[in-house]
Symmetry: D2
Subunit: 304 residues, 4 copies
């Protein structure tokens, strides 16, 4: 497969699209990023790295971090984990409280904010040094110890996290948060504020394309069965209330973040990431969606 | 892959499970079916047919028919089709009116009742003899002209279709039904009342496993791209508000019906069907779900 | 109390208000009425009739008829009636299906469409000649046998009653409609299509201001206790999701209709009606609301 | 009117009712109150005090305090107040977040928790010493300076106010809370934790029965028009999602609290209060509801 040629085609096509998306502004620090940033990186199991644009520049991974925290939680706990968070698509915006109230504080899935807050709560109960352990995990799967949190984004996000505070308090009232509310919120935002480049994210997501193993040294990060399950949740829940559209148009498991990043995988084939900050109305990178749709159209392959 | 051996293992395991599901009773005629019925049929692209139990006995395909009607509509119309029905998981029961009211009469996807009613309305507008054309389509993809509608089920279902009548009337009030309400309801129920065996359904679903082509004569029933899209919709929306669970546990695109049937596919590998009438609380065959989870566990393969 | 002087003041003030409301168009025949029509009529227990404008011109009473049908049902049945319809404000638009689905087909109150359809169903079960008996009831309380149904409105409304058909079908699916769907819908629309003038409506509503008795001959139409209860329901549920606003600004029990009419009462004092076709966004007569607010401000009296 | 005789009848009838209600347990300190407590007090404008039972024993007024805080806010601000809180019945439980999310952080009315939290936020902005000023207000209208906050209840309630914290955070995310979240919550709970007896509450509520004036010295606490409006809000919104039922059965404006108290008024006639801790499923005092229904049945008078 001539991946570099395909990426070049995508690059030139994207330049012709008028980007009607808008950079997320509810976290003030994110609003300062240039909307022109554009990078893509494909890491093939068999043939290595392909890329264009700002693929080595770090950006705020935001909700993409939810995949890493779920991986950590699933590596520690068995199916009992899913008594506290479901695996169903929500059909609602990422920060909605409505289903949570109807459904007694059990979030629909681990990739909406409520679900990721529960996962954070679980990790706080299970880990000795949650923040350090989380960062170590990211360092391990990327083999890159320079990845870290952007303190400005972390502080900026903490100052405007009222909606997340509402979600935790609501779940606490139902008994589905065990630890201190401030501590859970702090740890959750810490994960969101990590910065990675497209290249680093593609390396991290190779684990999900490679049956749970690192490609470099074949360390098993997560069992093959659990890896498949994470991929399944990415497929049905990775894009908030646009998960169906992404599955329909792109046909790959993936996860987006409001920093404008999207990571996706083709099991057994490759991990791919895109970064373009302007978001469509559903909160997903507008050009990122186009780029990935183009990718599976041009390669002719998706998981379907 | 020793499929027959795997199916035998599934068969013996299922006999040990106490089936807590209940046969659908809201269509009186379906309530007369023996809850003991159990059949499974796997049709492999490379190596043919495997089965056990009542795999050649016909049953009411009910909502599985929604895949066929969507296929017909997509073969006639382009993306304009999706202005009248979305492709997002609903996160709600199959016959819910709630989202429909909030979302101006546009159903979430073609596999909930509201969406299938819109597809029926579209087919009535596009086809000369909707019922005959629909049955011809089923005869064509199965190469079996004896498949037909169970008149008792058809009549029984018509007599208790108040919820579906509510859905059509609500959509009509939003302008999303163009034809006569009685005609749409009649055609919709006609499709549901078709009877097929596991073997016949597996043959029909081979089209979706085989890139849109019949396996027997390589006729292209639907383009490869559109076939992938139907598979994607089955993945995210094929099991009502249990789509995430099915994706998580089984990892294959599929579609269930309240007659107790489930059809699923592994693209490029096989089509598989199960039939066991008792349904779990979400309306999907209880043993059918178990059987398919067992299948992808024992083979070690799913689309993820 | 100088009621005529107060009405004159209201009349001149209304002429200075720019009416931003819009005449209901979803029933085509209603859309033909001149938006300039304006009439008001106050019928005082002690001192008789006061009025201005088009107070003797008949208009479509629409939902105001729901008060009469509830009165008939309550005169026949005891509290068992309220097992099939509740008495709580809905907090939702008049034709919403959402609560009905969540609440198993039991409408919130008899003054939203769903509730009035249940009342119609009950009357069909209880009355020999529902339409005739209903019209006789209206003739009786107004002592005016010339009141009748506008056939054009009746036919026009039947042709576009998809939303009401959705409501009945949904309730039928829950078992809360006993009679034939078409018959219930037909009887319901018949009641809505009755035409009365402000003067006639004020005479009819005198029964509710006068402890359930006709003022002319003191016939007891409904017991005093049941009359209080109807007044209470008018207070909390008479204006769809604007009931609180009406109670807050006007402070009288009342009922509005999409024909632009409003009837209200001050128990022990008077019945008052207004007619002005343009509706505010909540579906209540815009000038009618102003007129009644002005009335209780100028008199200095409301029930509070 | 022989009020004492009527109260005696109510007293003896209540003893015959098996009380299926349950004392509120979500505030642990409230759960320690004896369910046997029962008191009633009627304060007539013309003829003074009538009572039975524990009418002089203080209890936690809880949500009844919402009437006092609204009175203070309305005495300071004009209709602009109602841009931040509506006056419509909610049709939902008292602590629901659902409507708040759909309706952009504007609570339905000042008597559900979300609305009272907004009122608290407003009073913090407007008052120099919110807590002291609030208590002074209660002392003024009751002419009793010994009324104070129960510190145990205050602390107990603060420790389990996750649902209220969720509400404030959600409204803050919509910009409808201006002050510090902890400060608003603290002031809100302070009001709820005030203790008053039936007699003291009846004296306080006389203001609402007496056109906004204290009966003792005719001081105007709130204008007559604004008093009517508070009464109207009590009528439509005073009993959460049982407001319609209370209006239907009792026919008086009133307000309940989870401490088991209910205060109600008949404008121009009397203020009446009941206390019995066990609550019905909607969160209102079970015997309190019976007692007041009996009262308007036996007197033959309500506002309707």
């Amino acid at each position: 497969m001539e991946y570099q040629q395909i990426l070049n085609t995508i690059n030139s096509e994207l330049s012709g699209i008028s980007n009607s998306g808008e950079v997320a502004t509810y976290i003030p620090e994110l609003a300062t990023i240039s909307p022109k940033k554009l990078g893509m990186h494909l890491y093939c199991i068999n043939s290595g790295h392909y890329s264009f644009g700002n693929n080595e520049e770090r950006f705020s991974i935001q909700s993409i971090s939810k995949v890493f925290s779920l991986t950590m939680a699933m590596s520690i706990l068995d199916d009992q984990l899913f008594r506290r968070v479901d695996v169903e698509p929500s059909g609602n915006p990422f920060n909605s409280l409505i289903q949570l109230e109807y459904e007694n504080g059990i979030p629909r899935n681990p990739f909406i904010n409520a679900g990721a807050l529960v996962i954070s709560d679980i990790l706080i109960s299970e880990l000795k040094n949650p923040k350090k352990d989380f960062l170590d995990f990211v360092h391990n799967i990327t083999e890159n110890n320079s990845i870290s949190v952007n303190q400005k984004v972390f502080i900026s996000e903490k100052e405007c996290s009222f909606r997340n505070a509402a979600l935790i308090n609501l779940m606490k009232s139902f008994g589905n948060i065990k630890n201190d509310i401030e501590e859970v919120l702090d740890f959750y935002i810490y994960q969101c504020a990590i910065e990675m480049s497209c290249k680093e994210l593609a390396t991290a997501f190779m684990v999900y394309a490679n049956s749970g193993k690192k490609l470099s040294d074949t360390t098993q990060i997560l069992s093959e069965q659990k890896t498949k399950r994470i991929n399944a949740i990415m497929q049905t829940c990775g894009f908030y209330d646009e998960a169906g559209e992404f599955s329909f148009r792109v046909g790959l498991p993936g996860k987006s973040g409001v920093g404008g990043g999207i990571a996706a995988i083709h099991p057994g084939q490759y991990a791919v990431t895109v970064w373009s900050p302007p978001l469509n109305p559903k909160g997903n990178s507008e050009l990122g969606m186009h780029a990935l749709e183009k990718l599976t159209t041009l390669t002719g392959y998706s998981i379907f």
